[in-house]
């Protein structure tokens, strides 16, 4: 971490800890405490919403679970602090798993509604199971005892502050690790993620469970902080507030989470007190105006773009002076703020400020020394593996969509160490074959054997991890991640470290992390992209993107590499580069299946060529022979009738 950042962080933590000494008013201490507790929850929620891009409407329910887990333990068993905290975390995480496992099989609106239903069920259960929770009458708690000493307001504040800093560090580490990359990958391109061995489903569940754990911690601390919990508090309004906090503060940002927490705690209090709100709204209008002027001056934004935020904040100030009691319109104001943020402030306040002041978010830098040291021969030599000459054998594959047979009884035998071409006119079933081989489609019938095991019915991630890698016809890179990070996703399988390793940063994790950087750079060198290591993938020129995909696929240490039209859209010099790389790949003993339309590529590279037409194999053999085959000519050019 940069020195200036470290100093700032230390100053921040110091200020946080010194606050209750400077301001000894229990009301304000409690306020800041609540902000910190919400921040802990938001760190976790950001993983789900900001990184994996899922909308969860149930985090208020998870928060309530954490609070009640602690509350019931204290109420019924007088359990001590050092038991309630871990129990709350694990209990809520467990519930998170229970919810995520069925819910994340589907995406998008389904998850949102399911989590909404879940939040409602939790409220009902807490309300009804009064033998456990005392129902609507709620549970009263005292501040916890630590080492035989009952914590007072200030001491508890310090405990919460400490836990928040810890949570921040842990989240930061998780998101910097291979886990964080997996989360971003599954959002960037779910298909590519699966095919790189990172199971989208599994990691969505992980993300949700981790966030549930954080919510549980926050809930537990909240119970002790409020000293009274009741089922009513964990309702839809709270969940909306949490979401608002994440998107308004700024996704993928710890500061954004803390900023968001501050806003959602202070805003209702602000709305309660009309006089104070008037001052604040005027200050806000002035601030927005100032930022707008700066942004337009630096040509970061046009006046038209800035018009709505400026007009909006001035209108809000005007409304504050006109209305009598803002608190009745509280929810409308939240709603309007939310709409505003969704349309104009998509990167949140943090993102807005960064853009307006031209601050780039920190990018993981790579030391030049590392780049030099990386071995250009990072592609592992494919092990001969078990079995004979055939690395893959597919027989009688049938892929049927409704009435259409995309693949009709296709046999395919790929010999080890060869480059096997797969050609045919558009719609002949080539890509379908690819998708079947990599597990994206489950074949309607037929058998496929690879490495002594059947591929049929296995998930894409599973197949990828067993040695089949691929590239895509339409480039499926993780656009917002750097080239190196893209390759590192392919290297995900090399990490044996689990969550605990990452959180605590064990030697094993640090070793694996360093190795992944080295190996990743080496793979980039292999395709000649090492100088682009820290460039965002979406900024690379098209040709380089295709090469990056290959590097990423090679990270899987595959025995079989499927290239889906790798030369599509490439210029002649790029194609030459591509061919050289494919030859290098073959030299390492990796078998290649090549789908291509560029006949010169096919002819010069392939050892064997199979031809598909209307889902059936119509020819197979050496390139020259196939090229001269009448049936092939007819398929491409049409019959003489």
């Amino acid at each position: 971490m940069k020195t200036s950042h470290l100093l700032l962080a230390i100053a921040g933590v110091a200020a946080l800890l010194l606050f209750p000494i400077g301001i000894d008013n229990p009301y304000y201490i409690h306020l800041l405490e609540t902000i910190m507790i919400y921040a802990i929850l938001l760190f976790g929620l950001d993983i789900v919403v900001g990184y994996t891009g899922q909308v969860s409407l149930g985090h208020a329910g998870l928060f309530g679970l954490g609070a009640y887990a602690a509350g019931v333990l204290v109420f019924k068993l007088s359990a001590p602090f050092w038991i309630t905290v871990p129990f709350a975390i694990l209990f809520t995480a467990g519930f998170g798993a229970l919810l995520a496992l069925p819910a994340l099989r589907v995406s998008g609106p389904y998850l949102a509604m399911v989590t909404l239903a879940f939040g409602t069920i939790i409220q009902i259960l807490i309300n009804e199971m009064d033998f456990l929770t005392d129902g609507p009458m709620g549970i009263k708690l005292e501040k916890p005892m630590l080492f035989g000493h009952k914590l007072d307001d200030r001491e508890y504040y310090w405990v919460v502050a400490l836990l928040m800093v810890l949570a921040l560090v842990v989240v930061h580490r998780i998101l910097r690790s291979h886990l964080g990359r997996a989360f971003e990958a599954l959002r960037g391109s779910p298909v590519a993620s699966d095919c790189m061995g990172v199971s989208v489903y599994r990691y969505k569940v992980y993300a949700f469970v981790i966030s549930a754990g954080f919510a549980g911690l926050a809930g537990c601390l909240y119970a002790y902080s409020e000293q009274y919990i009741s089922p009513n508090s964990y309702n839809f309004e709270l969940t909306v507030l949490f979401l608002l906090a994440v998107i308004m503060g700024g996704r993928k940002s710890r500061i954004g989470a803390m900023l968001g927490a501050t806003i959602i705690v202070l805003l209702p209090k602000l709305l309660d007190d009309v006089v104070l709100f008037r001052y604040v709204s005027v200050a806000l209008a002035v601030l927005v105006l100032a930022t707008a002027v700066v942004a337009v001056r630096r040509q970061r934004a046009t006046p038209a773009q800035m018009a709505i935020p400026v007009v909006g904040s001035i209108a809000l100030a005007g409304l504050a002076f006109w209305l009598d009691a803002m608190t009745d319109w509280r929810l409308s104001i939240f709603g309007v703020i939310m709409l505003f943020v969704i349309y104009y402030l998509q990167d949140g306040i943090v993102g807005f400020v960064q853009k307006a002041l031209n601050l780039r978010p920190p990018v993981a830098t790579v030391a030049a020394a590392d780049v030099d040291a990386a071995s250009a021969d990072a592609v592992s030599t494919a092990a001969p593996g078990g079995g004979g000459e055939d690395v893959l054998e597919a027989s009688g594959v049938l892929m049927q969509f409704g009435g259409l047979k995309a693949l009709n009884n296709v046999d395919l035998r790929i010999r080890r160490g060869t480059i096997h071409g797969l050609i045919g006119p558009n719609g002949s079933g080539k890509s379908t074959m690819m998708n079947v081989l990599t597990g994206i489609y489950v074949p309607t019938a037929g058998a496929i054997a690879f490495g002594g095991r059947s591929l049929v019915g296995r998930t894409a991630a599973d197949i990828a991890l067993s040695g089949i890698a691929r590239t895509f016809q339409n480039v499926q890179l993780f656009g917002e991640m750097t080239a190196l990070q893209n390759v590192q996703v392919g290297l995900h399988h090399s990490f044996a470290s689990n969550l605990l390793d990452v959180a605590v940063s064990t030697p094993r994790y640090r070793r694996e992390s360093a190795a992944a950087v080295q190996r990743g750079l080496g793979l980039l060198k292999f395709v000649g992209l090492e100088s682009f290591a820290t460039e965002e993938a979406r900024n690379l020129p098209y040709g380089k993107q295709r090469l990056l995909e290959i590097a990423r696929a090679l990270a899987l240490d595959p025995q079989l590499l499927l290239l889906d039209e790798p030369a599509a859209g490439l210029t002649a010099p790029d194609i030459k580069e591509l061919l050289a790389i494919i030859r290098k790949i073959r030299e390492h003993g990796v078998t290649v299946i090549l789908i291509e339309h560029h006949m010169d590529v096919v002819m010069s590279m392939c050892d064997t060529v199979s031809v598909l037409d209307f889902g059936q194999k119509i020819a197979e053999g050496e390139p020259a022979k196939v090229q001269a085959d009448e049936k092939v000519i007819e398929a491409y050019l049409g019959g003489s009738t």
């Binding site: 009458m137 508090s233 009598d324």
Partner: protein, 409 residues
């Protein structure tokens, strides 16, 4: 209302800037549900409080200082009450608090005032245990001028069992502290008369369909339904009965007088009976003055107060506090508390004339002889018993013996 606020603020500001002596306002916190199902009670209470405050301020305030109300909406949520209480004590630094409509909110919030030695005058919440929450402490800062449930429940039982002669009754209570504690009070009072309810059912706030509970009560052969809940749900009970074609008398706690019960239950609510400390009829000059002033200032629809009891008790609570402060000569918590416990001069209130309403051990100003039974009729609450109406001109004053008599009966 907004105008009044600005006037109040302006007045205090003027007072501040011109007076040579420190004339800063006396801050009194007002906590109640101004939104949600209980809001008719909260808003009426708040309006009663505002009316009293305005009158007192107009005639010079208390100890030469104006009263400034700090109002917060607890939305009938216990945890909101907790937060508001902390805000009142630590941020707003009020010298006293009035309010609390919902028993649960009161029970959750009062300890902050108790710890800070700030007197709280509950003017509507009726849970019996409210004024006894801190019996174990040497000093109790919680007072009340509402008819608590250990009076109401026996009154309800008396009406149902003794006067109307029912033997089989069903209890329908909501799941909040109010409903459940009230249910316990009802069961205790019934046991005193040797009766066990044939059905005891529970429902949640916001519940709309009472069919299950009513069916069970009907199957058990109930002749009357005793209720402890608030307006909207009580209305659904009445509507549910109509739907089932099962019409038995509804006798319950004072909340059956709520506007949203009467309006939503329609004709099905007619005949419901409940104890009331105040019925909106000008039976004495003081009451007439109060009603006229209230209607003129707040202009409720059809000239009907949403919750007459809340308004009257809210009004009275401010006058009681003001009297105690005048007597103590200060706004210091312990001194005001001591003054309340030993009020020398009677306070002329709407509900009753308060003559030594509190003692060190008795913090409830209302006894069993003060409330009468009201009945819902044609969209309003009227005297159920014509004798009560005739004798309403005479103010009933606190009589501790009446409590004992009721419980022994």
């Amino acid at each position: 209302m907004a105008f009044r606020f600005k006037l109040l603020a302006l007045t205090s500001a003027l007072a501040l800037s011109t007076a040579a002596f420190a004339a800063d306002p006396i801050k009194i916190g007002v906590d109640g549900p101004f939104t949600g199902g209980s809001s008719s009670m909260g808003v009426s209470m708040r309006d009663g409080v505002r009316l009293a405050t305005e009158e007192i301020n107009k005639s010079g305030g208390v100890l030469g200082r104006q009263i400034q109300l700090v109002e917060r909406d607890d939305e009938a949520k216990n945890e909101r009450g907790v937060q508001i209480a902390q805000e009142f004590v630590n941020k707003e630094k009020v010298v006293a608090a009035v309010g609390y409509i919902n028993t649960g909110v009161a029970l959750a919030s009062q300890r902050f005032f108790q710890d800070a030695k700030i007197p709280v005058l509950n003017n509507v919440a009726t849970g019996s245990v409210i004024t006894h929450q801190f019996d174990k402490d040497p000093d109790n800062y919680v007072f009340r001028n509402a008819a608590h449930d250990s009076i109401q429940a026996p009154m309800i039982v008396e009406e149902a069992i003794t006067r109307r002669g029912y033997k089989k009754v069903a209890i329908l209570a909501d799941s909040t502290n109010y409903g459940q504690l009230g249910r316990e009070d009802l069961e205790r009072a019934l046991k005193n008369k040797g009766i066990t309810p044939v059905a005891v059912e529970k429902f949640n706030i916001k519940d709309v369909d009472m069919t299950a509970q009513l069916l069970k009560s009907k199957e058990a052969g109930a002749e009357a339904v005793l209720t402890y809940g608030i307006g909207p749900e009580l209305a659904q009970i009445a509507n549910g009965m109509t739907k089932l074609g099962w019409k038995v008398p509804i006798i319950g706690s004072w909340t059956l007088a709520m506007a949203n019960f009467i309006d939503n239950a329609g004709p099905g609510g007619d005949g419901a009976r409940m104890p009331q400390t105040f019925i909106q009829e000008p039976t004495t000059p003081k009451r007439k003055a109060f009603i006229d002033a209230f209607l003129a200032k707040f202009k409720p629809k059809n000239n009907r107060m949403d919750s007459p009891v809340s308004a009257a008790q809210g009004y009275d609570s401010v006058y009681l506090l003001a009297a105690a402060m005048k007597q103590a000569g200060s706004t210091d918590g312990p001194k005001v508390k001591a003054a309340l416990e030993d009020l020398q001069a009677p306070v002329d209130g709407v509900v009753t004339t308060y003559n030594k309403p509190f003692t060190k051990t008795d913090h409830d100003a209302i006894t069993a002889n003060i409330p009468v039974f009201g009945e819902v009729k044609a969209g309003r609450v009227v005297f159920a018993n014509p004798d009560d109406q005739k004798s309403a001109g005479t103010v009933r004053m606190k009589d501790v013996a009446a409590n004992d008599a009721l419980l022994k009966n």
